[in-house]
């Protein structure tokens, strides 16, 4: 309880007690007016370690619990997909006679499918494929999108107008329809290319579905990245350091490469990161419809699709890949969001 004589903070009435108390400060000592000694000065100088952009971002990221958990989950998945198969006694295409349609057991934690293949190993390989598709597709987007966007933003004017019109046009094409069409159409020509040319042979294991996903990402999906980068570059190119670089004789490509793109690195990383789950999403969608990865390889989507046939008798066979796929996409989404907040705190709401 406050009494009337000492009004609270923000009051217009003078606080009489504190005014009266001002006169009662302790008396000065004799050495209070001496110049400070060297040792005294040194205690005032505080050397703080300078923080780079990455250290700062990492510090912010570490505070974000959700993003750190998501990062942990992603690392676990990487181990699961790339190290896990080493510890399994089975291979993904190995058909074990007499062990068909098994339920979960110690020997086969996820059970086996109708051909007697161990599902745990297949899910591991499936996650490997899904992860690889996500990373490769977003790298394609990264390269094409950042080149297109930075050129468009840097040149500006007429060129920018035309380039952005093209982007708008591509943006309005329904992507899934084109993926479906491409994966159907490419099947025969790709098969011929695989057979005729040694260079293409190593691609043939992936199947036309996966390759058409990459092609579609290269054709259609880079527009988002291009738009974001163009916006960034439009702002950055007005800055003095760009003028300075130009005055020193740097050409356009050097300015873009050395000065503009490194300053967009946060945006580039975040957009690439968020592209990974969307690529995984698309791949599983295609594989589920039977247009994605080719047998005997498996992805999480095609495992779900296979399991759909026996859903009434073996529902658990569908649950494992489906749950893993969902967690994987969720973890990438959450980590991407956290990364955005860490790399570009201005964007945080």
């Amino acid at each position: 309880m406050r009494d009337a004589m000492s009004p609270g903070f923000g009051s217009l009435q003078p606080d009489m007690e504190s005014i009266l108390a001002m006169g009662q400060c302790p008396p000065f000592r004799e050495d209070d007016f001496e110049p400070a000694t060297q040792s005294e000065k040194e205690t005032f100088i505080e050397v703080r370690k300078s923080m780079s952009y990455w250290q700062d971002a990492w510090r912010r990221l570490k505070k974000n619990k959700v993003a750190m958990v998501a990062l942990g989950v992603i690392i676990l998945f990487l181990l699961f997909a790339f190290v896990g198969p080493l510890f399994s006694p089975y291979s993904y295409e190995q058909q074990i006679r007499g062990a068909e349609n098994l339920a979960s057991s110690l020997a086969h934690p996820f059970g086996t499918d109708s051909l007697g293949r161990d599902l745990l190993v297949r899910v591991m390989y499936g996650s490997r494929i899904s992860l690889a598709v996500g990373v490769i597709a977003s790298l394609i987007v990264l390269v094409i999108g950042s080149i297109y966007g930075s050129v468009s933003g840097y040149l500006g004017g007429r060129v920018d107008d035309i380039m952005m019109r093209i982007v708008e046009l591509i943006y309005s094409i329904p992507d899934v329809l084109v993926v479906l069409l491409l994966s159907t159409v490419l099947k025969v020509p790709l098969q011929q290319a695989f057979n005729s040319n040694n260079f293409f042979r190593f691609l043939s294991t992936l199947g036309p579905g996966l390759i058409s996903i990459f092609i579609v990402f290269g054709m259609l999906y880079w527009v988002g990245m291009a738009r974001i980068l163009r916006g960034q570059i439009l702002q950055l190119k007005q800055q003095e350091y760009v003028t300075a670089a130009r005055a020193l004789g740097a050409n356009s490509s050097r300015i873009i490469r050395r000065h503009l793109l490194p300053n967009c690195i946060g945006q580039i990383i975040v957009t690439t990161m968020l592209q990974i789950p969307s690529a995984i999403f698309l791949e599983s969608f295609l594989s589920f419809l039977g247009l994605g990865i080719a047998a005997p390889l498996a992805s999480l989507g095609s495992l779900c699709s296979d399991a759909l046939n026996g859903i009434y008798t073996y529902p658990m066979r569908l649950v494992f890949p489906a749950v893993i796929l969902s967690i994987l996409i969720l973890a990438f989404n959450l980590f991407g969001d956290g990364l955005r907040d860490a790399l570009d705190p201005r964007l945080k709401k």
Binding site: I173, P174, V176, L181, T184, V185, V188, Q192, F288, L318
Partner: protein, 310 residues
């Protein structure tokens, strides 16, 4: 305004034309004609067939003919799935089934998603908001086919309370529509929440509060009107999502709609049917985007004010 609408319509027409050309070009890339089968017909028969369907002409002329026919609503006849039936007839038979499921899912997504977003914004930072945000984040991450198959396992296989095949009774609509609408619903909820939070910070909300209006009236009337604008712009992509998501849902629940048929025609390589359906779906998506673009301008007068009268 008229200029803007005309520009948009032109842009949409160019997009549809582009898609038609891409589709035609892709279908032409496939080696081997449509008449190639196990028992190879004689060269004379092939020539006659090619002449009959105009396949002996240069590609560019074929494209022109196809586009002219397509513009008149003639997409040719099916080669394999339903031999010699016009593609347009097949589409008009099957599309209403997909459209019914899709429309219910769309209405469900908006009617549930918007209120959820409002509730989240109303209880910002509290337990209700956090719980709903977690749910909508998860809902965005789960692919449609996972939702659909999980529902099928739970309600169709384990508890056996809902029909799993086809669309016979009203109960059989529940699972397909919910699994199709879950992702857009969560997305709409997130959109509404963030735009609602933006709106709540604005001056006119402070005015309303200062006038002494009750909070729920401020949120659900004054703030909601402005927060709906991003939701409207999302309706275009939402339509595209529902149409393509229908492929998966119709496969899982064995619904004989256009989506399932389209996938089957892709697997069976029925080219005229594939082309016709692709162009048809693309026209719907592009038209929806066009309507949304125009609606956006109509609903939000601020956009016109900044640009002046055109």
């Amino acid at each position: 305004m008229v200029k803007y609408i005309l520009k948009r319509i032109l842009m949409a027409a160019v997009t549809v034309l582009l898609i038609a050309c891409i589709t035609f070009g892709l279908m032409n890339m496939v080696p081997g004609g449509p008449f190639l089968s196990e028992k190879a017909p004689s060269q004379a028969v092939l020539d006659a067939l090619n002449e009959k369907y105009g396949l002996d002409q240069p590609v560019i002329v074929q494209l022109k003919n196809y586009l002219i026919h397509a513009a008149q609503g003639d997409f040719g006849v099916s080669f394999k799935m339903q031999k010699n039936r016009p593609v347009t007839t097949i589409i008009s038979e099957l599309f209403p089934i997909s459209a019914k499921v899709g429309a219910i899912a769309l209405v469900f997504a908006v009617l549930i998603g918007v209120p959820i977003g409002c509730i989240e914004a109303y209880f910002r930072g509290k337990a209700v908001d956090n719980a709903l945000t977690v749910i909508s984040t998860i809902g965005i991450a789960i692919p449609t086919f996972v939702v659909a198959t999980m529902l099928l396992i739970l309600f169709g296989v384990v508890w056996k309370v809902l029909p799993t095949v086809g669309l016979t009774t009203w109960q059989s609509y529940l699972m397909p529509c919910f699994s199709l609408g879950l992702y857009p619903m969560c997305y709409v909820a997130r959109l509404t929440r963030s735009s609602m939070l933006d709106a709540i910070g604005q001056d006119y909300i402070k005015t309303a509060r200062a006038k002494g209006l009750p909070t729920n009236r401020i949120i659900f009337k004054h703030a909601l009107r402005n927060s709906l604008i991003p939701v409207i712009t999302y309706l275009g992509p939402l339509t595209a999502y529902i149409l393509t998501g229908g492929f998966v849902v119709e496969k899982v629940f064995s619904i004989g709609g256009l989506g399932r048929y389209f996938i089957q025609s892709l697997l069976n390589r029925d080219y005229p049917l594939i082309m016709g359906t692709t162009i048809f779906l693309a026209i719907i998506i592009v038209t929806m985007n066009l309507i949304v673009d125009i609606l956006y301008k109509v609903v939000d007068p601020r956009i016109n004010l900044t640009k002046g009268v055109d």
